[in-house]
């Protein structure tokens, strides 16, 4: 199955980036890994059936499993939210988390 090789590449690249010091690179890594995760989920629907699950257009005998697709759709949305949140984290401070934690301007909770 060729897609498993694609998944291997995505996960490998994702892990490489995730382990980098820069927060932005880590976010990119998460993005790659989530692509891989989405593909894995879709594969659980068995890629031998690849028809769109549209009742009025596709023969149900050829249609793909719709449930993993729904899962993946949800996963994509949540990935968007998580990515935006992590990007916000990356923007705090001036050096992309490579050197120090940014001062928040608040007095530290003693």
């Amino acid at each position: 199955m060729i897609i498993s090789a694609t998944i291997a590449v995505l996960v490998g690249g994702g892990v490489y980036l995730l382990l980098a010091r820069s927060m932005v690179q880590a976010v990119f890594g998460i993005t790659l890994i989530s692509h891989a995760a989405n593909l894995i989920l879709l594969l659980s629907g068995v890629p031998a059936w690849r028809g769109e699950p549209l009742a009025d257009r596709t023969d149900p005998a050829l249609a793909g499993d719709p449930l993993p697709m729904a899962f993946v759709l949800t996963a994509i949305v949540i990935t968007l939210a998580v990515t935006v949140f992590m990007l916000m984290m990356a923007v705090l401070g001036h050096n992309d988390d490579t050197r120090r934690t940014p001062a928040t301007g608040e007095t530290r909770d003693r």
Partner: protein, 1018 residues
């Protein structure tokens, strides 16, 4: 029916609590009279039950509270309960009368009266409780009330109240553990039943553990060493509070607890030893510290610590005589100490100081006060014929009977005698220091007249100890019943009287008096030499040091798992993951346990995509320029979209494509504030990471290959494909699953989106602008002050002003005119496309989420078409969108719940030929929330500070709330100024063309977040 008086008594007090705020609003400080009357009334209501108890009965009343846990609101009046109830009510009434004159006349003192009333109710609840849970709750309520009353004591009270809370809650926790253990072992939450359980005599280890827990709780409340530090701290509270809580009630709750549990622990050695030693040590220590005080109130506090120590030690003796003595001294102490505290308040009111160094000799000016204080101090010092003498005699006698070898009794007696000498000394100091030895000239410190009622209330409890000492025999019956409650199965016959004949304790007392007389003679020189701290630190510093060291220890522990570098955590996790998967797959292969893969799993397109993805991922990994990395990343995203499409998931592909576009825009917003390149990584580290990454990637690929595609489609897939269209009336099975079959998932997803938006606001609004904007060192621009400060000026020599090259860089508004013009055309188109996608979602690829992403593109375009970073949409709109989205979705769910009996189940119907369903309402919620999140992301991450702007607020707040009035403080929920009319900039691009002729910037979409309005017209 007498037992009904118990709940009525408590109910009356609770009603008083409820009525207090309203009363205080109208009666102001006179509320004290009403509360005092209520307390006396409660005492009267309680009288029938009390009378029965004194006859030897026990009153019970209970009501189921938490039946599933067998917890009931159970009350029980026995000898101890009666004595302590009356202490709480009578002293409470007197103190509240006093307070109604002591407090300032103007303000309503709502907080004071409310907490006082709550305290009394919980104190009475505590002493009457017959359920361990009720007991614990009332115990904590008294702690809280004490904390609140101290915290009300102004500036000095804040930290002091925190320390008090800290110490008393330590006791609360140990009591909670004790209660849990008792309930666990005895199987009942009924206090009296638990205390009568045979386990206390059969399991000494368990008994000892619980005894230590209970006595710790008692020690914290009764200010026993080392928890005594909170009581002097608590003097920050106003005098009525000290007189009531810190002399008669809260501290006596600890005494009460120790007595209440005496039936179980009175013969436990650890209990006896701990109580006697700690009690006597505290008695001596407290008296010693009291002698060193210059502040009369602090002196009283330490003297209370000392007296409580004596009582605790006596309870520790655990005999009938000892408990009788302890109860008697508790009563005596409550009387004289609350009176003395109130007298300190009288002095404070008269001369506006409590400092012995600043007091003039008051004896002549305030003869009545002098007499009363002297009486109170005499009672405390144990001078006959006052009640204090009787009770102290019995204390000494009881301590002489301490358990163990004969010498322990003598040691205890001598220690108590020594503490009493010190007591005598500080009593001397109170009377002589305040009234006779004062060195300050009375002319310097005018003496204000005392309100008579205040003095009367203060003297009542003290004066009461004169006749009570003479007729001490009246205490015989209550003491008998109290001791019976504290020692089950005992038949005590206490005989309280002034004269018992020549006894060891009388000899000790006489010795005390002899030394005391010498003290009085030498007091001036002696006290002056004592008035310094004998320890280099005080309790507050000790607690601060404790907290500091705890924090340091915590940091040391944290260091082990600190997450300052994610690879420290990720490396082991990922390694284990890869190992498990690879070993597992290897095992499966060797066993030959894998079924044959289904034929036709791969298509040629997969191979093409694999090659492309490999290239893109490689570039993303090795790119040092952030921009390159983003391009590679989005390429990967597009390729993943293509792969998804190739798998037949049209909806998913569409979503992925739009998300990809949005993600890239947000990434760009972020990148503009970050350095251009990624920081360097050492080659060794790179190699290690690459090895691990390859390893994990291999594992993921192998796992997928081994575990996926080896069975036909699932039953569930068949079911959805064949049934879903008929059930839902929608042909797009994926969308139908999302909004109907698994709508709860989608609701969760929606909430995650909304929360992300809120979290963005929450985090960013705690951060200063300068931490969000690019580093100031990036500002290298030498020319062009109007430029954004983080963009370095190109090295090209720019031409003069008004040349196109200059303007292209420095007056950038012209650059975006084209985009603005396009937006006017594309915007409506996108809205239509979005609406269309939304509408058709049920039958074809589309739906609320995809429609929202298309609509977000409009927001993105608007943002891009401005020459400066501007916030899109009115302030607060994003928050409202998010909340409305979640709300609409939940409401759609409830529609299903109400009409179909299942949350989120859609209702179908036809209007004409058009198929409608409530799932579309749900989808609209999705649409709104997604749009809100995108707007939050753009507005918060996209805006940056301009050089010219002099913002008055942090930008995030301005962006979220609109232009805020006032100085820099962050104000949430404050109403923004009405939006200024936007007129000065002329008309928008495409509506007018005047800007071309006049060379003036046209109006742009969005709003400035930090530029004053006059800047716009420049």
């Amino acid at each position: 029916m007498t037992s009904m008086t118990l709940p009525y008594t408590v109910l009356l007090l609770v009603v008083a609590v409820i009525a207090t705020p309203a009363l205080a609003g109208t009666l102001r400080r006179n509320t004290g009279w009403v509360l005092a009357a209520v307390y006396l009334a409660a005492g009267a209501v309680f009288l029938p039950a009390a009378a029965r108890v004194l006859d030897g009965d026990v009153m019970r009343w209970s009501m189921p509270w938490v039946p599933s846990l067998n917890v009931s609101f159970a009350l029980r009046a026995d000898g101890l309960g009666v004595v302590f109830t009356y202490i709480a009510l009578v002293i409470g009434a007197v103190v509240l009368c006093y307070a109604s004159r002591y407090l300032e006349a103007g303000p309503p003192h709502r907080g004071f009266f409310l907490v006082m009333a709550s305290f009394t109710a919980s104190m009475v609840g505590l002493v009457l409780a017959d359920d361990l849970i009720v007991l614990f709750i009332c115990w904590e309520l008294t702690s809280l009330a004490s904390f609140l009353l101290i915290a009300q004591g102004g500036r000095g009270g804040q930290l002091a109240s925190m320390r008090t809370l800290f110490l008393t809650f330590v006791g609360g926790l140990t009591l909670l553990i004790a209660v849990a253990l008792i309930v666990l072992r005895t199987g009942t939450t009924t206090l009296s039943a638990a205390l009568a359980d045979p386990i206390w005599s059969t399991d000494p280890a368990f008994t000892s553990v619980v005894a230590v827990l209970v006595l710790t709780a008692g020690f914290t409340k009764s200010a026993q060493f080392p928890f005594h530090v909170w009581l002097p701290d608590a003097m920050a509270a106003s005098t009525p509070v000290s007189a009531y809580l810190h002399a008669a009630a809260v501290v006596k709750a600890g005494i009460f607890l120790l007595m209440r549990f005496s039936p179980a622990f009175h013969a436990t050695p650890v209990w006896n030893v701990a109580l006697i030693t700690v009690g006597l040590f505290t008695a001596t220590l407290g008296a010693w510290f009291a002698l060193q005080q210059l502040d009369l109130k602090k002196l009283m506090a330490y003297s209370t610590v000392s007296q409580l120590g004596l009582i605790v030690a006596t309870i520790g003796v655990g005999t009938q005589a000892a408990l009788a003595a302890a109860v008697l001294h508790t009563i005596a102490h409550a009387l004289f100490k609350s009176g003395l505290f109130m007298m300190v308040g009288v002095i404070d009111h008269a001369v506006h100081t409590r400092d012995l160094r600043r007091l003039p000799p008051l004896a002549k000016a305030m003869p009545l006060s002098f007499a009363v204080t002297a009486l109170g101090a005499a009672s405390m010092a144990g001078i006959p014929p006052l009640l204090g003498f009787v009770s102290k005699e019995s204390l000494l006698g009881a301590l002489h009977g301490a358990p163990g070898p004969a010498w322990t009794g003598w040691v205890a007696l001598i220690a108590a005698g020594f503490a009493s000498v010190l007591t005598f000394a500080y009593c001397t100091k109170i009377v002589f220091g305040a009234f006779i030895d004062g060195t300050t000239d009375p002319a310097e410190r005018p003496i204000h007249p005392t309100e008579r009622l205040m003095l009367l209330a203060a003297s009542l409890p003290i004066l009461a100890s004169v006749p009570l000492g003479l007729i001490a025999g009246v205490f015989d019956i209550p003491l008998t019943q109290a001791v019976r409650a504290a020692l089950f199965g005992s038949y005590p016959d206490p005989h309280v009287a002034l004269w018992h004949g020549i006894t060891p304790e009388l000899v000790v007392t006489l010795l005390i008096f002899t030394v005391g007389a010498m003290l009085i003679a030498t007091r001036k020189r002696l006290f002056a030499r004592l008035e310094h701290d004998s320890l280099p630190f005080d309790g507050a510093q000790a607690i601060a040091a404790l907290v500091r060291s705890l924090r340091r220890a915590g940091l040391a522990v944290v260091r082990l798992v600190e997450a300052d570098n994610p690879s420290r955590h990720l490396t082991p996790i990922l390694t284990v993951f890869a190992l498990v998967v690879l070993v597992g797959v290897g095992g499966l292969l060797r066993e030959g346990a894998l079924p044959q893969p289904v034929p036709g799993l791969s298509r040629p397109i997969d191979g093409v995509l694999l090659v492309l993805v490999t290239g893109a991922v490689f570039v993303a990994c090795v790119a040092r320029s952030r921009l390159t990395a983003v391009v590679a990343l989005s390429t990967t995203g597009i390729l993943a979209t293509a792969q998804i499409l190739a798998l037949g998931a049209a909806d998913v592909a569409l979503t992925q494509l739009l998300v990809e576009a949005l993600t890239v825009i947000v990434v760009m917003l972020v990148l503009q504030k970050l350095p251009v390149r990624f920081g360097p990584t050492p080659p060794a580290r790179r190699l290690g990471t690459a090895t691990l990454a390859a390893f994990v990637g291999l594992a993921a690929g192998a796992g997928t290959w081994a575990l996926a595609g080896r069975r036909p489609r699932s039953e569930l897939a068949h079911w959805y494909l064949s049934e879903a269209p008929d059930i839902s009336g929608g042909a797009n099975v994926v969308n139908v699953i999302l909004v109907e079959f698994r709508a709860l998932d989608t609701l969760g997803e929606l909430s995650v989106l909304g929360m992300t938006g809120i979290a963005l606001i929450a985090v960013l609004s705690t951060v200063r602008d300068r931490e969000l904007d690019p580093h100031p060192t990036a500002r290298t621009s030498g020319q062009g002050r109007a430029m954004n400060r983080w963009q370095s000026t190109p090295d090209l020599p720019l031409r003069a002003r008004h040349t196109p090259a200059y303007r292209a860089i420095h007056e950038s508004w012209g650059n975006v005119v084209g985009l603005q013009l396009m937006l006017r055309l594309v915007g409506p188109l996108l809205i239509m496309v979005s609406a269309f996608l939304f509408w058709r979602g049920h039958n074809s690829p589309g739906g609320g989420f995809i429609a929202a992403l298309v609509a977000s593109a409009i927001v993105g375009l608007m943002y891009l078409s401005t020459s400066r970073d501007r916030a899109i949409g009115p302030p607060r709109l994003p928050i409202h969108l998010i909340s409305a989205g979640v709300l609409v979705a939940v409401v759609a769910g409830f529609i299903g719940l109400i009409f179909k009996g299942s949350f989120l189940q859609p209702i179908h119907g036809h209007v004409g030929a058009v198929h409608l369903t409530t799932a579309m309402i749900f989808d609209a919620g999705v649409f709104t929330a997604v749009l809100g999140l995108v707007m939050v992301a753009f507005n918060l991450l996209g805006t940056t500070q301009l050089l010219s702007a002099e913002a008055t607020r942090e930008r995030v707040d301005q962006t979220v709330e609109g232009k805020l009035p006032g100085p820099l403080e962050t104000v949430r929920g404050e109403r923004a100024h009405p939006r200024p009319k936007r007129s000065e900039n002329g008309r928008r691009v495409g509506v007018g063309t005047a800007f071309l002729a006049r060379d003036r910037q046209p109006r742009e979409p969005g709003r400035d977040t930090d530029v004053p309005s006059k800047e716009e017209s420049r």
